[in-house]
């Protein structure tokens, strides 16, 4: 398999976990940790956050690539999960009391995120006012445009990247222009055997801890699917 010096991942809770390489390899908890062991990359960066949506996924990745020139297109593999389209993330100061407590890169980047987690969440500080005023369709549209912006950015800069879906309802919720766009990017889209998304794949293997998150064994299966995809790609 082609080796990449840098492994950069982003996404929501199904990808979130430590960026500490030693911990990730010795005590793997999520699929990026298993993949890191398989690839043997020297640099590992996990930008994912629990409750993160596509806005923070896209902006964190682009910000990293614009400000950290060591992540070159030749030597970096990027994999991200597409999150549910009903989430709205607001960039905020590092010390905002409502900022996501699990974004370990906040200090390094100089910003954090207020993550809604879902359209129906009415958590502080906005208490649903953004969802009320934007409306579901605008939030889905905004998410769709963020994903298109991210994928075209990665393509334009010549990065080797792949994306996976958190769950299949993302496709049901997506506007037609996004599904058309993703269909045209099939070579970057990793499926899991006959399942389009990570959740449904892990459910079919009875590898879920709750309705949304895989067990550690499930994460290992996800990593194996990714490894297989990467291997087939170079054949």
């Amino acid at each position: 398999m082609t080796t990449y010096n840098n492994l950069l991942v982003a996404g929501s809770s199904v990808t979130a976990g430590t960026s500490d390489k030693i911990t990730a390899v010795t005590n793997p908890q999520v699929w990026p940790h298993f993949l890191l062991s398989a690839l043997g990359s020297n640099i590992f960066c996990n930008l994912a956050m629990p409750a993160g949506g596509n806005i923070s996924i896209a902006k964190n990745l682009i910000y990293t690539l614009e400000t950290k020139p060591e992540y070159t297109a030749n030597d970096t593999l990027i994999i991200f999960n597409i999150a549910p389209l009903d989430r709205f993330d607001v960039m905020c100061a590092v010390d905002n009391p409502n900022a996501n407590q699990h974004f370990s890169w906040a200090k390094d980047f100089g910003f954090n995120w207020i993550t809604s987690g879902s359209f129906t969440a009415k958590t502080p500080p906005f208490n649903g006012i953004l969802e009320k005023n934007m409306g579901y369709d605008a939030i889905v549209n905004f998410n769709a445009l963020e994903l298109i912006g991210l994928i075209t950015y990665l393509e334009d800069r010549g990065y080797h990247f792949h994306f996976i879906l958190d769950n299949c309802s993302i496709l049901t919720d997506a506007p037609t222009y996004l599904t058309d766009f993703l269909q045209a990017k099939k070579r970057h889209w990793v499926n899991f055997d006959n399942h389009l998304a990570l959740r449904e794949y892990c459910q079919s293997h009875n590898s879920m801890i709750d309705n949304e998150h895989p067990t550690v064994a499930g994460h290992q299966l996800v990593s194996q699917q990714l490894e297989q995809h990467l291997y087939q790609e170079i054949q």
Binding site: K59, I62, Y63, E66, T67, V90, M91, C92, A93, N96, N98, G110, F111, I114, P125, F126, I129, L130, N133, M134, G135, D137, A138, I139, N141, F142, L145, I148, G149, T152, Y153, E155, D156, R157, Y177, F181
Partner: protein, 234 residues
């Protein structure tokens, strides 16, 4: 690209906002109307709106090009202005009571925008977004939105150009954005020794009474710079 099939899309803030349609040359109100006279495209779309920030500029452009596939790199030229980095745009439904009233494409693109500035504390958010985002984050997101738009246009190989509303927007730009734009100097329209449209027009006394927006003579001069830059690049 021939003028017979050429389409022109412009977008940005109030410095670019004005009517769409090639007949805008009959009563030119902004630089793009004067530029139409030179370019003579057969279709002209102006997505700009007064009060818009760089979020809305970027998203409107991407949405338009993704959903109207007959606007192709072979037949479309795109010019946009980068606006103030203190602006926050929130996408909303077309009929939202606080939506931007001047976004003529709202029905067509099925969304509108609540356009605010950092100092704004009006309805519906009453300053909540600004308070929780903070100026630095608003600037950073605006910069990333400009990068989104440009990378999208480059990846699809559109013929595009950009310029700054004023020197202050340039001064407010984060360093990573300036580096990014400097690598695209052939796409960056400037005005003699001034970076922004406002500052060029101000220097030559070509502003209207608000002392901010160009007058018609100013817009005509801006159109001349646009035309000259594009001709030189070609």
């Amino acid at each position: 690209m021939t003028s017979k099939t050429l389409r022109l899309i412009t977008t940005g803030c109030s410095f670019t906002a004005g009517a769409s349609g090639t007949d805008a040359t009959n009563n030119p109100q902004t630089w793009s109307h004067f530029y139409l006279k030179v370019l003579q495209p057969n279709l002209f779309v102006n997505l700009a709106m007064p009060g818009a920030g760089n979020f809305a500029m970027s998203k409107n452009l991407t949405y338009f090009l993704e959903t109207k596939q007959d606007y192709t790199p072979d037949n479309t030229q795109i010019i946009f202005n980068i606006t103030g980095f203190d602006r926050v745009d929130t996408m909303c439904s077309v009929d939202h009571p606080n939506a931007n009233q001047w976004f003529a494409w709202a029905q067509d693109v099925e969304h509108n925008w609540i356009s605010e500035r950092f100092v704004n504390d009006g309805a519906p958010f009453n300053g909540l977004l600004q308070k929780h985002m903070g100026f630095d984050q608003i600037k950073r997101l605006g910069a990333l939105s400009v990068i989104d738009a440009i990378m999208y246009l480059e990846q699809r190989e559109f013929d595009y150009y950009f310029m700054f509303m004023d020197n202050e927007a340039h001064a407010d730009s984060p360093e990573f954005l300036i580096k990014f734009l400097e690598n695209r100097s052939d796409r960056w329209i400037q005005f003699d020794h001034q970076i922004g449209m406002h500052d060029y027009c101000k220097e030559f006394g070509m502003l209207i009474n608000d002392n901010f927006h160009p007058d018609l003579q100013g817009y005509e001069m801006i159109a001349n710079f646009v035309n000259q830059h594009i001709k030189e690049k070609l």
